[in-house]
Symmetry: C2
């Protein structure tokens, strides 16, 4: 089996929050939305149906867990879950807390407006509360 390596675009755009049995749980460095990216640590996966059935089942439980953590932290109006990957070919699943007041609502967030990285202190705070909720 080839080794899993995080795609460089994902590595650049995110900060690792925790590692779960299947996925790296990454915080997107964009303070406009509480936005996690789950990356199954399996080499050469592109679509969800590339995962074997056991990994698919674990992925669903990890999506559930990430969704509940964001809901507990932020009380959003909606959670958006999406595996798109048209640009970054490594399988990754977006789990995003959405609010009626956010800048893209009710549209999807991808491609809407420009990324706004966290200030360093805000990023530390976001990671601290996130890790407490995710662990």
């Amino acid at each position: 089996m080839p080794n899993f390596e995080l795609h460089e675009t994902l590595a650049t755009d995110t900060v690792e929050a925790v590692r779960w049995p299947l996925c790296r749980v990454l915080l997107m460095n964009d303070c406009r939305y509480p936005w996690l990216i789950l990356v199954p640590a399996r080499a050469n996966m592109r679509d969800m149906h590339d995962l074997d059935p056991g990994d698919q089942a674990v992925l669903m439980t990890e999506i559930d867990r990430a969704s509940r953590a964001l809901t507990g932290l932020h009380a959003p109006d909606k959670i958006n879950v999406a595996a798109l990957g048209n640009m970054v070919p490594q399988l990754h699943i977006h789990v995003v807390a959405r609010f009626r007041t956010d800048d893209a609502w009710p549209s999807p967030i991808w491609g809407a407006h420009t990324t706004r990285p966290y200030e360093p202190v805000a990023l530390d705070n976001a990671l601290r509360s996130l890790r407490a909720a995710l662990n």
Copy 2:
């Protein structure tokens, strides 16, 4: 338990292809993309994490099955899977076959350009081949 009823927007925009153990499998009436919508037949669900763990596990197998059917029929460049629901509050999962040549690539399809309904004969043909692949 209240009865499940398909949301009127989904009923208007789609044609039912088949019913699986958990989901209604709907064909979006938009010939720009091979586009399925899976709706778990459970009342009052909004987010994937509203489903109980057993239903979540079945949902993942049905997403897999829908993805493979579209892949077998259309050999797309990518499958996009998304539970958004910012506008239609009933839980529904998009499973969309994407092509490097489609009109929204590489962006997500939602909100890109205008829906183009199938011609009646094309809709019949799409449903026939889809039902053969989904059953």
